[in-house]
């Protein structure tokens, strides 16, 4: 195994939306080959963190830095960050009426290839690429003809996010509550997808409320966020402890 190389380093990050300070001096380091879980009560800033990393225009970084493979990404546009290999699976995947999933995925895939200086592929070549990815999460190719997330069930939307992650083969994947609202079967399928995808060259961040997902995909580290900061970091035992005692236990201690 390689010596640990950091893929993401967040240093003293402060970020706000409409003058509301959400992230308050946050530090986080993620190495290649690691799976991290971020837990914490509602409103602690977990989703904000994921959006700030992805470059959502609604948020302003007030201080600190985000390094991706050693380089600051703060001035990069969201699509440039995606080109580098940062992927965000949305908590609430967006519906796009009138645009077929196939067109969307094809354009996404080719845009990434183009940004990497590779040759774009034809729709026919793409079809074999995408059907392979679909099979990993048990989705039928018929779903390609449907409009992006329109009329999808909660489980289908989340599986669609995983398909996109597999397709873009991202280096850093942040899954924002991908497990919420899933039944046991869907959770198992998605976990299988995540595990197939993970390699020593990649890193994954799981944002979740529940121990459930972590039973299927074991994280190397667990962070607890509270009030815009990481207040506790531990190994998988921490999740079990949280499940039993709730977040109160940590806050009181603080």
């Amino acid at each position: 195994m390689n010596t640990k190389l950091p893929i993401l380093e967040i240093k003293n990050l402060k970020a706000s939306i409409e003058d509301n300070q959400i992230l308050k001096t946050l530090n986080l380091k993620i190495n290649k080959g690691e799976i991290h879980a971020i837990m914490g009560p509602n409103g602690s800033g977990k989703s904000t963190l994921s959006k700030v990393i992805a470059g959502h225009p609604a948020y302003t970084v007030n201080d600190g830095d985000i390094l991706f493979s050693g380089e600051s990404i703060l001035t990069l546009e969201p699509e440039e960050r995606s080109h580098l290999g940062i992927f965000l699976a949305f908590q609430y995947p967006i519906e796009i009426p009138g645009v077929s999933n196939e067109d969307f995925l094809y354009l996404s895939y080719n845009s990434k290839l183009k940004a990497e200086g590779k040759e774009e592929i034809s729709p026919i070549e793409f079809f074999s690429v995408i059907t392979e990815k679909l099979s990993i999460v048990d989705m039928s190719p018929t779903f390609l003809t449907r409009n992006v997330n329109e009329g999808f069930s909660g489980g289908e939307k989340k599986r669609n996010e995983i398909v996109q992650m597999l397709l873009l083969d991202s280096k850093l994947s942040i899954l924002d509550e991908t497990d919420s609202g899933l039944d046991i079967d869907a959770l198992r399928i998605i976990s299988k997808g995540i595990k197939t995808f993970m390699t020593e060259e990649k890193a994954i961040v799981l944002i979740t409320h529940y121990q459930r997902l972590l039973d299927y995909v074991q994280p190397d580290f667990i962070h607890v966020m509270q009030n815009g900061k990481i207040i506790k970091t531990g190994t998988s035992d921490l999740a079990k402890e949280l499940e039993q005692k709730g977040y109160e236990w940590l806050t009181v201690k603080e």
Binding site: G55, P57, A58, T60, E79, S82, H83, I96, D103, Q164
Partner: protein
């Protein structure tokens, strides 16, 4: 959505939306035009100039007298300064050396103009499966493939020529679908129309080529009053295309056209428009006033008239291509994409008048509003008491871009018959920040994202366009909205 991010998104989209108008050049040609102004003498002179038969002069004079008694309609969701009709040149034509016998005699400047617009009139470069009638200001310059079409008995020429060569057909049909006094602008058009296209498809003939007219306004102070008449005899079929552009001037120019379609038993007319008149500048200065009356009569059983329009230009558009469904089982269709930007105003839609039994109509309208523009759909579905079993389906979708644009829908439905089935669906959506962010996060650029959303939104309409035009429409919207950031 936050204000700050809204600003970022809006600036980006605004950049995309404001592509320069590339047809805004004007052509310098020697021309012959009347003095500004309108009175009975001008009409007599016009009629004389065009060597028209007496019935047409009377038609014009009657229309002029009606027009003088009428007032400019104000019910539409449009605000504009009414044109000064005494300040318009009613006839402006490139100076011709008598009668044109071949294209060699056309002023090369004009040929160049059409070349520049992508319309080639010269033999070698013609579109292979489209016959073109090119109208420059007040007159038709050339009609291609006339002889080839004549072999099938299809008549395709300028309406001025038709007046001379087929006066009986003109006298029989002109003004029968759109009566001269129908509205203010039809009365004006009927009085002063200068040119336009005439198509006649004989019984049982499927027109072997798509027919097309390309309208170009060049003269700064002239109005363009064109008149188109299409007659499809029993069991005939035709697809007709229309394109329009104009140079960029600070003054508003008037375009008041009348189009009449007549479909007899089993006949099928498909009429497609890509309208890209100059829309005025980003502050709303200049641009074409586009006041158009288009109407089709499904006179015979099982006849069908289908309107497809892509409206992207003009500063003010007032246009309702309609169908009167008289024949049993006749069908009317209206597919529309209307795009407005900056200070453009569009009030467009259709009327479907069901008179015959089992008549069917379908309306699909897509409005896209950006900038400070105003985009209104206005529809009227009327089912007569004799129209047993009539059916109508209407769908009106609006897409808003940015925070200052405006979309309205005014669907009027009037049913006098309990057997009718009427369906109406409407939706309004907005290209939102979260949608765009989703695309960006998936490696897709803003430009491509908007392009994909818009083309998805318009798909149902674009698939109705003939192949040659579908590409042009896509390109046009690209230019207006999605082209590469300059």
């Amino acid at each position: 959505m936050t204000n700050q991010s809204n600003k970022t998104l809006n600036t980006n989209i605004t950049k995309l939306v404001n592509q320069p108008y590339k047809y805004g050049f004007s052509t310098n040609v020697e021309k012959e035009s009347f003095d500004k102004g309108l009175n009975e003498n001008v009409i007599r002179l016009l009629s004389q100039k065009k060597e028209e038969p007496e019935f047409l002069l009377n038609f014009r004079l009657k229309a002029y007298r009606r027009w003088k008694e009428m007032e400019c309609p104000e019910w539409a969701q449009l605000k504009f300064i009414e044109s000064n009709y005494q300040n318009i040149i009613y006839y402006s034509a490139p100076k011709l050396r008598k009668k044109l016998n071949s294209l060699d005699e056309v002023d090369p400047e004009i040929l160049k103009t059409f070349e520049k617009l992508g319309i080639s009139l010269t033999e070698q470069k013609r579109l292979t499966n489209v016959a073109v009638d090119a109208v420059f200001d007040s007159v038709s310059i050339a009609t291609t493939f006339r002889e080839e079409l004549a072999e099938y008995g299809v008549i395709f020429c300028s309406i001025s020529e038709a007046v001379k060569e087929y006066p009986d057909l003109i006298e029989k049909y002109l003004g029968t679908v759109v009566p001269i006094g129908d509205n203010y602008f039809t009365a004006l058009n009927s009085a002063v129309f200068t040119d336009g296209s005439f198509c006649y498809i004989p019984k049982g003939v499927k027109c072997p080529l798509d027919l097309s007219t390309y309208f170009r306004i060049n003269e700064e102070n002239s109005g363009q009053f064109e008149r188109t008449l299409i007659i499809a005899e029993e069991s005939s079929q035709v697809s007709y295309l229309e394109g329009c552009t104009a140079p960029q001037y600070d003054e508003n120019q008037l375009h008041a056209a009348v189009v009449e379609l007549i479909a007899l038993e089993n006949a099928d007319i498909k009429y497609s428009t890509v309208q890209n008149w100059y829309a005025g500048d980003t502050q709303g200065k200049g641009g074409i006033y586009n006041f158009v009356t288009k109407r089709g009569l499904c006179a015979g059983k099982n006849s069908k008239i289908s309107w497809t329009q892509v409206e992207t230009g003009s500063s003010v558009t007032w246009k309702y291509p309609s169908c009167i469904l008289v024949g049993e089982n006749s069908q009317g269709e209206f597919y529309s994409v209307a795009l407005t930007n900056n200070y453009q105003q569009t009030d467009t839609g259709t009327k479907m008048i069901h008179v015959g039994k089992n008549t069917r109509s379908r309306i699909v309208s897509k409005g896209i509003s950006a900038g400070n523009s105003k985009n209104s759909y206005r529809g009227f579905v009327n089912v007569n008491n004799k129209a047993i079993g009539a059916r109508n389906y209407s769908q009106c979708d609006s897409l808003l871009i940015g925070n200052s644009s405006n979309a309205n829908t005014f669907p009027f439905i009037f049913v006098q018959n309990s057997t009718a089935k009427i369906e109406h669906e409407a939706s309004t959506s907005k290209i939102g920040e979260e949608q765009i962010f989703y695309f960006l996060q998936r490696s897709i650029s803003l430009e491509k994202a908007v392009e994909l959303i818009i083309s998805g939104f318009c798909r149902e309409v674009f698939t109705e366009l003939p192949l040659e035009f579908a590409a042009e429409a896509d390109r046009l919207l690209s230019l207006k909205l999605e082209g590469s950031v300059g």
